[in-house]
Symmetry: C2
Subunit: 459 residues, 2 copies
């Protein structure tokens, strides 16, 4: 392990340069115009894994974007770690807010700026570099290693479960899934994530008249779909900022006294947090703390809205249609299928007789809680403690990685979420970035994880 | 007059071809990208007026788009008619809903399809053709004629008042303003418009966090500007569909018993009206009929809304900003300046402490009522009755032509609104069109108006 650590130290500049190559490929999975770039990123990654000494690496087609699969088997008696990550990225818009182009990686004061720098190309690539350090320097790995790096995480991982099912024989012998796609609690407070929120993401359209109308001729007699959509949305929260969808909270596991204590112990500077995102005030569900609401409670957000004339100047249109994208973050044991049903029924009920509602389910993901006593969780805690000089906090994360539930359901595997992002990395926003210190510490922690995990399970 | 009527009959095909030339110029005034096209339309029109024998025609620059001014003075003892119209048009989007390209005029079953076919190139051009019929066939006109054809009607006629003030000496000797930019009550019920609604059009932006955020990391603790905007909009109407802005109705002149009787006498087929625009139900202010609400009562409509991710697929953004364009149609004696103040104060009051509100006034227009006993109103009624074989209804129109108030305020002139559009002409919508029968009848009515008006005032 020491030789691998030294290799990572001396080759760090090369590692950053290689990551920059990958970041230059705009692998935006949600936009079909970029399908070729997504494919190009997959090809690049498989070739790269082969070039660093991984025994087998291939690009496997799915009905959507491909999966990069790789494996390096050392010894059947050693434990097997399945690394999961994703090489696709979010769209970069609004483009005008980037200070450097999103697909031209730019280093500034020890930080790397690019779409995907953190989520998840940067974090995923740490696993490739940890493997390279072992393979190039020691010719061996303390564990058997498998990689499943997908290209549809940002659009709901629709074809990953079919992939897992189709390749179950190659995956089911793993002992644990290791993922770096989450954030540390803060730069000075490393953490391991034991909970994730799920997701239900819908797109709705209200249609009133059969065409856009002149608001002078028809205004006052024809109900306006935008006004009606605003009425619907405004009825989704009550004055306590609780979600009003009937049945929405029925399956929610409330936070335990123990978990609430863990939340209280976190070193959270609310003033600094608000300052960083430019807020004077917050709004969250009554009866819970801000931190609890950010990861331990379900939410509802309108992620996009559009209708009528949105160009320069004034156009007096009374539009035929208005649209919104609405997502809900779910907590155990909410099920996306039930929540979709509940929301659709409620919205149908609220839709006035002047309108028709179209409801589309875009993608869902299960919420998850992982057992903190799993040997791989403890190995991760050891590794992070060694690198950071302090024990990590166990935290819940407000985001969604649906595949964690999928790995449990389809392969019986628990996942260790050892992430090195920060909430301030602006993932999904303009000027996404990743600190090169964390890229470095992450590689070191992964190298240590493999050795410690092998030792703990006696491989 | 009979010779002019014959000329219009025999040259009608030429008239349509010339109108098509003008319709091919995309003179979209609200979009600065089309400024050259607006200028091109002005030049075309001035050259055309000169070519048909009008003594003087010129393009006069303003601080915005130019005004086409023309005059033909026959005799100082005859009355002077000032024709007002506009050569600018609304944007054509959504483009995909047009069955023929908006700027390639297409004739189908006696109807001409193009942006501006009715509003107002088609209707304005009838006045040019009526003048041509007199000048080419009789070498004379029964009235003195002036044309003020502007290029900013669709954006609030911002530079028309400065134009009127700067050229008061050329305009103030007119006896009446004659305008064809309104609709008939129906194809079988010709009408003269005696009332117009005013307008106050605002654009608002709510800003929450200082950048777009990840809804997984921040959702539940950061109030979402789209949700907050929906809350604001939903509070602008009450359950009776009355507008809730404090002071909004203070200056409203209620409909008189006489006016309400006039509304009741109109041959309105509500079922056919709903069917034509694809509606099962209407929604309007309680205490008034649908027809009254469409033109005699003030309204509030959201004409555009946008925020967050509006592209294909799912993006889990919690956006920094959300935007809406909100317009109100006003009735006498509401003043746009007061209504803006009232709306801005109310919205500021409703804006939660997590947000800041930006409020922009885009453009306003005064509501107007014209005296039905003006000799030019009676001349118009005579002309229309002759052409249609029935007396026209006097009606209020729900749209806004701010210049009608401007001509009254700055020149002391009443306006006669003798329009030949139909509500079903899809002005401001895809597939705008104008029936060639109405283009023809309109020219005939204008020829008759000039003769009748001259006779009535003894010119």
């Amino acid at each position: 392990m020491q030789d691998a650590l030294s290799y990572a130290e001396t080759h760090f500049d090369d590692f950053v340069g290689q990551l920059e190559e990958l970041l230059r490929i705009p692998s935006i999975s949600t936009d079909s115009q970029y399908a070729n770039e997504v494919q190009r990123a997959a090809n690049w990654l498989a070739e790269h894994l082969a070039s660093i000494g991984v025994q087998h690496a291939e690009v496997i087609a799915t009905d959507g974007h491909p999966v990069v699969y790789a494996e390096h088997m050392v010894d059947d008696d050693r434990p097997t770690v399945l690394v999961y990550g994703h090489y696709d990225v979010q769209p970069p818009d609004p483009l005008e807010l980037w200070t450097s182009p999103p697909f031209e990686p730019t280093r500034k004061n020890g930080t790397l700026y690019a779409r995907g720098a953190c989520d998840d190309k940067g974090q995923m690539f740490m696993h490739a570099k940890a493997a390279e350090a072992y393979l190039q320097q020691e010719g061996d790995l303390p564990v058997n290693l498998k990689f499943v790096i997908e290209g549809e995480e940002e659009t709901g991982s629709k074809h990953l479960v079919p992939f897992i099912e189709a390749h179950k024989d190659r995956l089911a012998d793993a002992d644990v899934v290791l993922i770096s796609d989450t954030a540390m609690f803060s730069h000075d407070a490393p953490s391991i994530t034991y909970g994730l929120r799920g997701m239900a993401y819908a797109e709705i359209t209200l249609t009133g008249p059969n065409r856009d109308l002149h608001s002078g001729i028809y205004g006052g007699g024809v109900e306006n779909p935008i006004n009606a959509l605003a009425d619907l949305i405004s009825q989704l929260h009550d004055a306590d900022h609780r979600i009003t969808i009937p049945g929405f909270y029925d399956a929610v596991q409330d936070l335990t006294a123990d978990e609430r204590q863990t939340y209280r112990e976190l070193p959270f500077d609310e003033a600094a947090w608000k300052d960083e995102i430019g807020l004077d005030a917050v709004k969250h569900e009554a009866g819970y703390t801000l931190l609890e609401c950010l990861s331990g409670r379900p939410t509802l957000d309108v992620n996009g809205i559009w209708g009528g004339y949105t160009g320069e100047g004034a156009k007096t249109v009374l539009p035929a249609k208005a649209h919104a994208k609405i997502s809900m973050r779910l907590v155990p044991d909410q099920r996306a299928a039930d929540i979709y049903d509940n929301l659709e029924a409620y919205l149908q009920d609220l839709t006035p007789p002047t309108m028709t509602l179209d409801f589309r389910r875009l993608h869902g993901g299960k919420p998850v809680l992982v057992d903190r006593d799993h040997p791989a969780m403890q190995a991760a805690a050891d590794a992070v403690e060694h690198v950071y000089g302090q024990a990590p906090h166990f935290v819940r994360n407000g985001g969604t990685i649906p595949v964690v539930a999928d790995f449990k359901d389809h392969l019986g595997l628990d996942s260790v979420l050892m992430g090195f992002g920060l909430d301030s990395d602006a993932i999904h926003s303009p000027n996404e970035h990743f600190g090169l210190d964390r890229f470095h510490k992450g590689i070191e922690a992964i190298i240590r994880f493999h050795a410690t995990f092998a030792e703990r399970v006696g491989g």
